[in-house]
């Protein structure tokens, strides 16, 4: 096949008052396809941004013997897919923002294919549409994605703004509409998609709620009907063609008129499109009839082109592409920088620089003259900038090079000129030239490329399975691996795993080898693809490469590899994930198998036990039983016993606990539990006999209560039965009696036998209850070590001093001294000080 030839033609038209836009037509490709009848009798759809082209030949044929053929081509006409159409009658073809083909059928069903002809899914535009059939349909792009608008046989509009999240909207009725409207278009305004409808000379805007009549300002009165309309790529501008042959151009909100031009042709056109560069000052639209193309702008004069062949117009951000049976051309306003440089006899700095460089190449001194001229006006940096910019707008690599060389030459004479623009332009152009190549066929302009971003370009290459080129571009542009190479490799791997002819081992190996060094590969996604294409074994192999356990688990569960899922979840340390698997297994497996699986995974088991503790006490018991964990079973019974109101039930549960504790060989727990049972019985008995509330008290509190109500014998009985240590019992009795201020009983108790806690507590407890008199009774009984403390407690300074001196203990003497007051205990202090001195000497 022949590589694309490219030639530029320029047409300049000038009138007296207005300067019309200069237009240029660039041949992008000579089409590689071989169409017998050209584009005649074909449904054609070409995606913007140099996207693919789809053709449906003979779409109106209904006989099964001659099915229509659906063909998909690249922009250069290379075949991507071709297959006979077996579904219903197609009314419209269109492309989504992610290069998917939409085929809208007569019954309102929309079929979605990928760009290589693979069927993806289908959706319906609703019952109303399928009943009244599709009359006309338009596919549009909005900030929300790709949308579909349908005019039904009942003359009502139905709209879906985003086919990936379908919400059907039925628009209000258009008043007075008898047949199909003369023309209509979809607008995006105020973050809403609206339909603009022309019925004769009447114009309406339909939104969700209302149908509003509108009038374009300054529309010439000769017109009795609007026959065609088109909205600009940015939805900002609107062009209307009337039956009188006038083209009205204005803003799409219909507030402002930009211009109106008479085409002098009254037959309805085949197509009309905006052809306006972003930021351009002037409007321009293209109208196409059979064999004729007219560009209208601000001036009265129009530019006319003859077309040899049936063609279609593809509106772009910065121009219009014209596709015919043999050629593919781009018609656009000449970019500012290019015009400045290439205009005949231009004196713009860029033009001079280009000239200077040419002379320099010829080794002529004129180079210096030109340079001097630019430098004298201090326009050299402007000249360089112009050359770089112009290079970006040129399609011919030779021209690009010439301009860039001139720019580079100019840069030599500038200090501190920022290199970024030049460098990034060189890089961009290299990428653009690569994708514009005939074999790839994505004829992007630099403006379009900047608008669509590298990310999207990479995606588009990936959809076309041009993985090596995508990777080369990522590497060349130094795109972060995460967004660049790794992403492409992932797509490649997803595609690779669907190749049926290769064995699991070969594919797994190929994938792992290619992806080994790439950072941030999500193997789980690749594995999911493998699983979806029915290759479970391959999916498991691939999952092994996934470093994020969290991502492995859901797929493993889906593939019913639950033991593996469980161990992966545990490996991740994410307990929530473990719970997810455990809960899944609980529903999936029978109880025995479930328990067995948990048994082998202690982490999962203990988490499940936590869960059961709060939600399923009975299951917990089964688990402990399975493990013969008698200790825990005992604890469980103890806990349960506290939930019982009835004493008998409570004791019964405690008995079960005792049995378990014995089985666990935990004698201490068993014995104390038995004690508790004994105590409970005792408490209840006494409650019944004496009417004191006792059940649930600790042994200590029970005895205290008994003593406080004078049931000394019963308290003594508990003391003996439960072998309460003497010390504690003495403390308890001492405090209880003092509390009751039963001093007589206390004295008796004190004398009953030698106190195991000594007599200092007696002194202190009496003092605490403000009975100095009683306290003094016990001072004499206190051990020598505690004498000083005891005397001090009852406030007997003399006694304390006496005891301290006797014991010749320095620190005790000091303690007493610190408690003496200088005024009253003067003599005592002297004695103490003397004693202290001797004690120190010793």
């Amino acid at each position: 096949m022949t590589p694309a030839l490219s030639k530029s033609e320029r047409i300049v038209s000038r009138t007296n008052d207005y300067t019309c836009n200069e237009m240029r037509k660039i041949e992008l490709y000579e089409m590689g396809w071989n169409l017998k009848d050209g584009l005649r009798e074909c449904l054609v759809a070409a995606a913007p941004y140099g996207g693919p082209i789809s053709l449906l030949k003979g779409h109106n044929r209904r006989s099964p013997s001659a099915r229509p053929q659906l063909e998909i081509y690249s922009s250069s006409g290379l075949p991507l897919a071709s297959f006979p159409w077996k579904s219903g009658v197609v009314k419209q073809l269109g492309w989504t923002v992610s290069d998917d083909l939409l085929c809208v059928q007569e019954d309102g069903t929309v079929l979605v294919y990928d760009l290589l002809g693979g069927f993806k899914r289908h959706f319906s535009m609703g019952n109303e549409v399928s009943q009244s059939q599709v009359l006309e349909t338009k596919i549009f792009h909005s900030p929300y994605g790709t949308g579909v608008a349908i005019l039904t046989g009942a003359l009502r509009f139905t709209l879906a703004t985003n086919i990936d999240d379908i919400k059907l909207r039925r628009l209000p009725e258009v008043p007075g509409l008898q047949g199909a409207p003369s023309c209509w278009a979809v607008l995006t305004q105020d973050r809403q998609s609206k339909v603009l409808v022309a019925n004769g000379s009447h114009l309406f805007i339909l939104d969700n709620t209302a149908c509003t009549p509108v009038t374009p300002p300054g529309l010439s009165p000769q017109a009795s009907s609007i026959v065609h309309m088109c909205v600009s790529f940015s939805y900002k501008y609107l062009a209307l063609l009337t039956d009188s042959g006038h083209v009205w151009m204005g803003t799409s909100n219909l507030k402002e008129k930009l211009s109106e031009v008479d085409t002098k042709i009254k037959t309805p056109p085949k197509q009309m499109a905006w052809c306006r560069r972003p930021k351009s000052q002037q409007p321009s639209a293209v109208v196409m009839w059979d064999g004729l193309l007219i560009v209208v702008g601000e001036c009265k004069e129009t530019i006319q082109y003859h077309l040899d062949d049936d063609s279609i117009l593809v509106p772009e951000l910065d121009g219009v592409r014209i596709i015919s049976g043999t050629h593919h051309e781009l018609l656009q306003e000449v970019p500012g920088a290019c015009e400045e440089i290439f205009k005949i006899a231009s004196m713009a700095p860029g033009a001079l620089l280009l000239e200077a460089h040419k002379e320099y190449e010829k080794e002529s001194q004129k180079a210096d003259e030109y340079l001097r001229e630019i430098k004298e006006q201090s326009l050299l940096s402007e000249a360089v900038r112009q050359c770089v910019e112009a290079a970006g707008h040129e399609h011919e690599p030779e021209t690009q090079k010439t301009l860039l060389r001139a720019a580079s030459f100019g840069k030599c004479f500038l200090s501190n000129f920022p290199p970024e623009q030049f460098v990034s332009m060189c890089r961009d152009l290299r990428v653009l030239n690569a994708v514009r190549d005939y074999t790839v066929g994505i004829p992007l302009t630099h403006t379009q490329f900047k608008q669509m971003t590298v990310q999207v370009l990479i995606d588009r290459l990936v959809y076309r399975k041009l993985y090596p080129l995508a990777i080369e571009i990522c590497r060349y542009l130094k795109t972060p691996e995460y967004q660049g190479v790794s992403r492409v490799l992932k797509h490649w791997a997803c595609y690779k795993v669907q190749q049926k002819e290769e064995s699991d081992e070969v594919i797994a190996k190929a994938v792992s080898v290619k992806l080994a060094d790439a950072a941030g590969i999500f193997y789980s996604e690749i594995a999911t693809k493998a699983y979806e294409s029915g290759r479970t074994e391959l999916a498991i192999k691939l999952l092994e490469f996934e470093p994020r356990s969290g991502e492995q688990v859901p797929l493993l569960l889906k593939m019913k590899k639950s033991p593996l899922a469980l161990s992966k979840a545990i490996e991740s340390g994410d307990t929530d994930l473990v719970y997810t698997v455990v809960m899944y297994l609980k529903n999936e497996l029978n109880r025995g198998d479930f328990f067995m699986m948990l048994r082998n995974q202690p982490v999962a088991l203990s988490l499940y036990k936590q869960f059961c503790k709060h939600q399923e006490q009975d299951t917990l018991k089964d688990l402990f039983n399975q493990d013969d964990d008698h200790e825990e079973l005992g604890n469980l019974y103890v806990k349960a016993s506290y939930k019982e109101q009835r004493l008998e039930a409570r004791i019964a549960l405690l008995q079960s606990a005792v049995d378990e504790y014995y089985k666990a060989k935990n004698e201490f727990s068993a014995k104390t539990t038995e004690d508790e049972m004994r105590l409970l019985r005792f408490q209840r008995k006494l409650e019944e006999e004496k009417g004191e509330l006792l059940v649930g008290f600790s042994l200590h509190d029970t005895m205290t209560t008994l003593l406080s109500v004078g049931l000394h014998k019963h308290a003594e009985q508990l003391y003996k039965d439960f072998r309460v240590p003497d010390k504690r019992f003495w403390w308890l009795k001492l405090k209880s009696l003092a509390e009751k201020e039963d001093w007589e009983e206390l004295e008796k108790f004190g004398k009953s036998k030698k106190s195991p806690i000594g007599y200092l507590p007696f002194v202190e407890v009496c003092i605490k209850h403000h009975n100095k008199y009683e306290a003094k009774k016990y001072v004499s009984k206190v051990t020598p070590e505690q004498k000083v403390k005891a005397h001090l407690a009852v406030g007997d300074m003399e006694g304390a001093a006496e005891a301290a001196i006797e014991r010749r203990n320095e620190s005790e003497i000091s303690t007493v001294l610190s408690r003496c007051s200088a005024t009253t205990d003067h003599l005592l202090m002297e004695r103490l000080n003397r004693a202290k001195a001797t004690a120190v000497k010793k």
């Binding site: 994020r548 929530d576 936590q610 200790e631 806990k639």
Partner: protein, 542 residues
């Protein structure tokens, strides 16, 4: 706002009147496996309600599953998560505030909080660079380090190019050092926490001491609301005294008082307009300092009332005896007396556990005696609490192995006879003699390194390890001579204020060459810690 009360998982599902998320008044603190009740609210026709869930610290599939089973998942307009792992508490302190972390890890074998800790550390590394060195001691530390290394692999390729701020991460299990939290903290901040309890950086104090003493205001009424004070290093005076031994606080406060009154006296010297202007400009600062001084003087008085009491002294004496290894192998008369007088149970448990830890387990007879005493006095219901304490190793019967605590104490110099409380020269000042084991391990790691204490490390539970993380070339820190190393110490299972004080002391020590940043699953003290391990079956009564 009407809230639906639910214990555990979602404490509150909150209504909001407008469509703004900020209206969410209270958010769930932690989600666990519990959803116990779901209350159905009557349909309010006039005021339709929106319900929202905000999971903290992380969304839980299990929780959503439960809500789905209960059939209410669809009633929520928004289900979202607020990832809250490490919360900054001060310039050098991060906490996860995960109350039950120690209990979950060591008692229930539920390592959820460790997963969150690892996630938190990953976030920290995303912000402050990869930490080149990881040291650790203990099972949980090992687990966290493993998860971190694993997550690091998962994020491969997306690393941020940040010069590492931290040189080393040290992960420490709380169960490596069970002793320290049991001891009564003796720093100013530690004592505030021991006595009044610091929650979320605030302390509530009895109001009496803070009553305005101004006369002529007529109001004799004493404030009844507890006084709430915020405690952090933003307050100049507090920053100065928080980590001092309490015995040195008095002197610091009176010194400060002199400085402040001297500053106020300055006004008499101010003669020119310029001087007066300068004085006035400093006034707000001086007044703030004065009110801060008044507050802390009151707090110090409150604390002093307690620390000078005989009870406090006796109990401290026993603690110190245990820590120095005196009579740890027999029943302590003091504990016996305390039980006999039915002192607060937690006090008893702290002491008994301490004795057990300092003796590397108690003789079966002694242990059973204590247990029986506790059950008879405080009630049988505490049997489960005692079992919990045994399971985490706070209480244990002596094994055949000999008691290794004295060796550990001697090698690590855990007891310093003449601790200088006023002008400390060693971390042991924070417990007036006892140097917290956890901080000693940290100190030794920095210099001369763990290799010197290999033997002791083997005696402590759990593995010790070192890991290195690859730092991209070009991000290797070139330390200037004299520049400090920064070590992040992460306490898994909680950290006490005294330990923090000890680490800050090490940071500030001259020629230490190391600066410490502290992170923990929770700020704890002996009381809150033991409380978290208690099980009260009666609470579950419907």
């Amino acid at each position: 706002a009407r809230t639906v009360r639910e214990p555990g998982a979602f404490r509150h599902l909150t209504r909001r009147s407008s469509s703004r998320l900020k209206e969410l008044r209270r958010i769930t603190k932690r989600c666990s496996v519990r959803i116990e009740c779901i209350v159905s609210l009557p349909e309010d026709k006039l005021q339709p309600r929106d319900f929202h869930i905000l999971f903290v610290p992380r969304r839980s599939l299990l929780c959503e599953q439960r809500l789905k089973e209960k059939g209410v998942l669809n009633s929520f307009t928004n289900i979202d998560e607020y990832i809250l792992d490490l919360i900054p508490y001060d310039g050098d302190l991060l906490s996860m505030e995960s109350e039950s972390s120690f209990r979950e890890c060591y008692l229930e074998n539920d390592q959820t909080s460790l997963y969150h800790a690892a996630k938190g550390l990953m976030t920290l590394q995303a912000l402050y660079g990869t930490i080149p060195q990881i040291f650790g001691k203990g099972e949980c530390a090992r687990h966290v380090a493993n998860m971190m290394l694993r997550m690091k692999r998962e994020f491969a390729g997306s690393q941020t190019q940040i010069l590492p701020v931290f040189d080393t991460l040290l992960l420490l299990d709380r169960n490596v050092d069970l002793l320290t939290p049991l001891a009564t903290q003796l720093t100013y901040e530690g004592l505030i926490d021991e006595i009044f309890g610091i929650t979320n950086g605030y302390v509530k104090l009895p109001p009496e001491k803070f009553a305005q003493k101004k006369q002529g205001e007529g109001g004799k009424e004493l404030p009844t609301e507890p006084k709430k004070l915020q405690l952090n290093s933003a307050e100049e005076l507090y920053a100065e005294i928080r980590d001092k031994n309490f015995n040195a606080v008095g002197a610091a406060l009176s010194k400060k008082a002199k400085i402040i009154s001297a500053a106020f006296e300055e006004r008499h010297n101010a003669k020119t307009v310029g001087e007066i202007k300068q004085f006035v400009s400093q006034l707000p600062h001086m007044q703030a300092a004065r009110s801060s001084l008044a507050n802390h003087t009151s707090i110090a008085e409150l604390i002093k009332d307690i620390t000078t009491s005989e009870d406090f002294f006796d109990s401290l004496t026993v603690e110190q005896e245990f820590m120095t290894g005196v009579d740890t192998d027999k029943v302590s008369t003091y504990i016996e007396d305390c039980i006999a007088q039915k002192d607060p149970l937690i006090k008893i448990l702290r002491l008994v556990c301490m004795q057990s830890v300092c003796n590397n387990g108690l003789k079966q007879k002694v242990l059973d005696y204590y247990k029986k005493e506790i059950l008879q006095t405080y009630g049988y219901k505490h049997i489960l609490t005692l079992k919990n304490l045994e399971r985490v190793g706070l209480l244990k019967p002596q094994s055949t192995m000999r008691n290794n605590y004295p060796t550990i104490r001697k090698t690590l110099k855990l007891w310093m006879e003449d601790a200088n409380e006023q002008n400390p020269n060693d971390i042991s000042y924070v417990y007036s003699g006892y140097a917290p084991l956890s901080v000693r391990l940290t100190q030794v790691l920095a210099r001369p390194g763990w290799r010197s204490i290999e033997e002791v490390l083997k005696m402590l539970p759990g593995p010790h390890f070192e890991e290195r993380q690859q730092v991209p070339t070009g991000l290797h820190k070139k330390r200037q001579p004299g520049e400090n190393r920064t070590i992040l110490v992460f306490f898994l299972g909680g950290v006490t204020y005294a330990e923090i004080a000890a680490l800050r002391f090490l940071s500030n020590m001259e020629d230490s060459g190391t600066e410490y940043i502290i992170a923990a699953t929770k700020l704890i003290n002996g009381t809150s810690w033991i409380k978290s391990l208690m099980d009260s079956p009666e609470e579950n009564l419907p």
